[in-house]
C-alpha cells in the first residue's frame, strides 16, 4: 500500500516570489509520481509526472518537480508565482507494477498568491 503526505495544507506567498510545495510518499514498491492542480469548481489537471530518467521534471505553467528517491520526496517548485496560480495542488503516486494505474492522492496544498 502507498500513502502520500503533503506537509503544508496552505501556503501563502506574494506574487512573483518563489514557492515550494512539499510532497513525501511511502511505498514498498517503485512508483510513478504526479502533480495535479485543481482550480475552484473544476476537476484536476495534470501539471507534471515522473516516470523514469532525469529526476528533475518540468511541467506546464512554469512548474517543475524533483524526485528524490532517498528522501522519498517529490517537491513542486516555481521560481515566480502569479495570481493565477492560486489553486489546490495534489501530489499522487501509482504503483509501477500495477497496470491499472490506481492513484493514491495526498490531502492537497492550497496555494494562495497575494498581490
Amino acid at each position: 500500500a502507498q500513502s502520500v503526505t503533503q506537509l503544508d495544507s496552505q501556503v501563502p506567498v506574494f506574487e512573483e516570489a518563489p514557492v515550494e510545495l512539499r510532497c513525501n510518499y511511502s511505498s514498498s514498491v517503485s512508483v510513478y509520481l504526479f502533480w495535479y492542480v485543481q482550480y475552484p469548481n473544476q476537476g484536476l489537471q495534470l501539471l507534471l509526472k515522473y516516470l523514469s530518467g532525469s529526476t528533475l521534471v518540468k511541467g506546464i505553467n512554469g512548474f517543475e518537480a524533483e524526485f528524490n528517491k532517498s528522501q522519498t520526496s517529490f517537491h513542486l517548485r516555481k521560481p515566480s508565482v502569479h495570481i493565477s496560480d492560486t489553486a489546490e495542488y495534489f501530489c499522487a503516486v501509482s504503483d509501477r507494477a500495477n497496470a491499472g494505474n490506481m492513484l493514491t492522492f495526498g490531502g492537497g496544498t492550497r496555494l494562495m498568491v497575494k498581490p
Binding site: Y32, L46, L51, M102, T104, G106
Partner: protein
C-alpha cells in the same frame, strides 16, 4: 480532443433519497475511474473500470453505491439511499491503458445532502 464530460454539475437531495451521476470519458480511453472528494481532502478512488469490467472496487460502499459501464464507454454511479456523509464532489477520470498513463478528469458533480 473533447475532455471528460460529467453531469449534472450540482445536485441537492435529502438523505435517504437516491441519485445518479453520468460520465462520458475521452474517446478511446479504455480505463475509467470514479473518485469521491470530500471537502478539504484529496480524491479517493471508488471504482475503476477497464472497458466494461471492474478492476478495483475495494473502496466502494457496496451497500449503497453502485456503478456500471455498459458497452465500455459511458458510466453511471448511483447512490441509494444517500447519507449525510456522502456530501462530496464526485469526479470521473479516464486514461489510456498502462500504469504510466495520466488520468484526465472531468469537472465533477457536487452533491449536497440535506
Amino acid at each position: 480532443e473533447a475532455g471528460v464530460a460529467q453531469s449534472p454539475r450540482y445536485k441537492i437531495i435529502e438523505k435517504r433519497q437516491s441519485v445518479a451521476f453520468w460520465c462520458n470519458p475521452i474517446s478511446g480511453h479504455a480505463t475509467l475511474y470514479w473518485y469521491q472528494q470530500i471537502l478539504g481532502q484529496g480524491p479517493k478512488l471508488l471504482i475503476q473500470f477497464q472497458n466494461n469490467g471492474v478492476v478495483d472496487d475495494s473502496q466502494l460502499p457496496k451497500d449503497r453505491f453502485s456503478a456500471e459501464r455498459l458497452k465500455g464507454v459511458d458510466s453511471t454511479l448511483k447512490i441509494q439511499p444517500a447519507k449525510l456523509e456522502d456530501s462530496a464532489v464526485y469526479l470521473c477520470a479516464s486514461s489510456d491503458t498502462g500504469g504510466n498513463q495520466p488520468q484526465h478528469f472531468g469537472d465533477g458533480t457536487r452533491l449536497s445532502i440535506l
